[in-house]
Symmetry: C2
Subunit: 405 residues, 2 copies
């Protein structure tokens, strides 16, 4: 096991006034431009959208879920299919999360022990065990490009001693996951080319940094992980109901301790404002069900804020959802038509609004990347926020399952 | 009012052994190759599909619903939008039905009088009146290419005297609708070109032939309508629970009396077998919610019959839904992936299966058209039915509202 891992990430620019960065993460399925928003393909499908739709709106990378795919269709079937890329016909990068969060938040019964997390399927109550080792094996069968180490998630609020205890278990598990990773991916086919780019022939491993809302714990966790042979870093256990101040302080404590030459991924974030805030604090990667979930509720994101498409004023509004948007929905349909579809309960509404809302976020990330490149991140952020009405942060469900440490 | 109307329809071929025909119907939005299957865009949208999807699978013409669009978004909004083609961004032909069937089957209260049909909206109970005249006005606002006359629909079974009485009212209403049509579309901009094609600058009017399952009534109704200034003929009030024998006898009685140089449209049909049977009896146009409704239930149509995608055997089946199909779903995804999406309750399943099932029917119509052109309809029908397992006819809901004549 090496302690100076290859980290196939290239920093293209740093903002001078804050920690915002512009980078490229190289994977076995191509490069990901960061900062990036990854649409959520929980069950190997982004709700209502095809892989072709997602490529057309410049989704650079998808997030899939180890817990869900393990239970259905089963990782054995994912392997038979030739991996998630062939299964869902998506030839760009895919990151899988560890399943940790879902084990604690979705499964009916969850019991933690040193070996791993025992849980009952939320589908049929069947019993299962996730260990740091088998979660690596599951991700190998899923065939994703970026794997994550099984972690222990805490409910919010958590007291500091409890947070420390669960963090220590996360770290012991991370070491086991890294060992399993090295055994599963024995030969490191990652090399820098003469042109300064990377050639990546293997999956990458991401370590998860926990520590609840305690900056000291977060910093310690970040230092621990920074020295390990991982290719990237996840910030887990946030956006679960804590205040924006606590969240931002935790993020700052983490990014201060991480190496520059590796990507940082905030799991499960977020709304547009949260993303700007976290890019400012040095985060590179984001994912959230928010754009598709709100789309199915009829909420439309635009650079001028959000609105509910069902409102009576849109019945006769023959303009596009967002005149600045280049997505298929905005180039093709009017608010009046989309209002009608939503009011009529037509499935097509979910599809067209989801497409637009994801494109809104991928366009926002393009704006963010250009701003860092051009050295005017702070100004662009101010400009964006001025136009965009502040939205309440959308929390991930708070894990309801008591931890049994 | 002319008694020798222009009927912008060209017969290209007649089968020698049966009444099957191959034709072209010209409309203000282009030509429709018949026999044709029209996907149902009840509320100005085919469930889960965009107009672009429908063009890609060679849907030649859509059916929209006057009753639904009148209630929501309202025909005034359809008119403000510039008509249904601009509203739903579909630039090929659209036919609207009369709303008669829905008034009787969907609305809460329905009272028929000589003036028209009074009914309560199934959305909010609000009271409305459809007359032969205002249904023409509504279709004018909707902006469809083919309009239909308001008719009286009967529940099945209906006794002959009742059927006769309602037919007579349908005929009196048809005369009023034709008058209203001539007043709404004053100048007949329909002309045959020197090349034998048609130039059509106006909507077309279709008369509806009723008569329940009584061949004599059906024949009388057909002769009545054949002499009127309409561009095409609808066969209404069938596929509502009667036997296949009764249905086929009624169709035969009708097509025997209709002019060759005009299209015949069987409203609300049907399953593949029913379509072959009715083409054989001289019907040119069909519509049905069946391919999209069954898709949402997970039923897949193939040339080898239908199957339920959720069945366990498809979990590991990495072949396309139908190896003979050229649709996006079949060219892109496996049965295993579609089985997983359906079992996972993913909306994308409805979309991908609907696309396939409609393409199955548009491909079947291409086969039928080629068979009539090549003079081997009977053989092709036999070949098709041999491969295709017989499916039970899918009835439209039987109207539950008592007629108050």
């Amino acid at each position: 096991m090496t302690t100076t891992p290859q980290r196939p990430f290239t920093l293209l620019a740093n903002d001078k006034s804050c920690r915002a960065r512009r980078g490229v993460l190289y994977t076995a399925h191509g490069a990901v431009n960061t900062p990036v928003f990854m649409p959520v393909a929980t069950q190997a499908g982004v709700k209502a959208l095809t892989s072709r739709d997602l490529a057309a709106i410049n989704a650079e990378c998808l997030l899939a879920n180890t817990y869900h795919l393990y239970l259905r269709p089963g990782t054995e079937i994912m392997e038979l299919a030739g991996g998630i890329h062939k299964f869902m016909r998506w030839d760009r990068p895919v990151l899988t999360d560890s399943g940790g969060f879902q084990v604690y938040s979705l499964s009916h019964i969850c019991k933690l022990g040193e070996e791993g997390a025992q849980f009952s399927s939320h589908h049929d109550g069947s019993k299962h065990l996730f260990t740091p080792e088998n979660v690596i094996a599951h991700q190998s069968k899923i065939g994703s490009d970026m794997w994550t180490c099984l972690d222990v998630c805490l409910r919010n609020p958590a007291k500091e001693p409890e947070a420390k205890k669960s963090l220590e278990m996360t770290q012991r598990w991370a070491l086991r996951a890294m060992k399993a990773f090295r055994e599963t991916v024995p030969e490191d086919k990652i090399a820098k080319t003469s042109g300064g780019q990377w050639r990546v022939g293997t999956p990458l491993l991401f370590g998860i940094i926990q520590g609840s809302i305690y900056p000291k714990l977060r910093a310690q966790a970040a230092r621990f992980m920074a020295e390990r042979p991982v290719h990237g870093f996840c910030i887990g256990g946030l956006s679960v109901g804590e205040t924006a101040e606590d969240m931002n302080a935790s993020v700052e404590a983490v990014t201060a301790e991480l190496p520059e030459q590796a990507p940082r991924y905030f799991m499960g974030l977020g709304t547009p404002v949260e993303i700007w805030d976290c890019v400012e604090r040095g985060v590179d990667m984001f994912d959230c069900v928010w754009p598709t979930r709100t789309a199915r509720n009829g909420t439309v994101m635009t650079t001028n804020g959000s609105f509910a498409i069902k409102n009576a004023q849109y019945r006769r509004d023959f303009s596009p959802l967002d005149p600045e948007c280049d997505c298929f929905t905005c180039r093709t349909y009017t608010r009046a038509y989309l209002c009608h579809l939503f009011r009529s309960g037509e499935l097509l509404s979910h599809r067209l609004l989801s497409l637009h809302n994801i494109r809104f976020l991928t366009r926002m990330m393009e704006t963010i990347r250009a701003a860092v490149e051009n050295g005017d991140f702070a100004e662009e952020k101010k400009r964006f926020l001025k136009k965009f009405a502040t939205l309440k942060p959308q929390s991930r469900a708070v894990p309801a399952c008591p931890l049994d440490l």
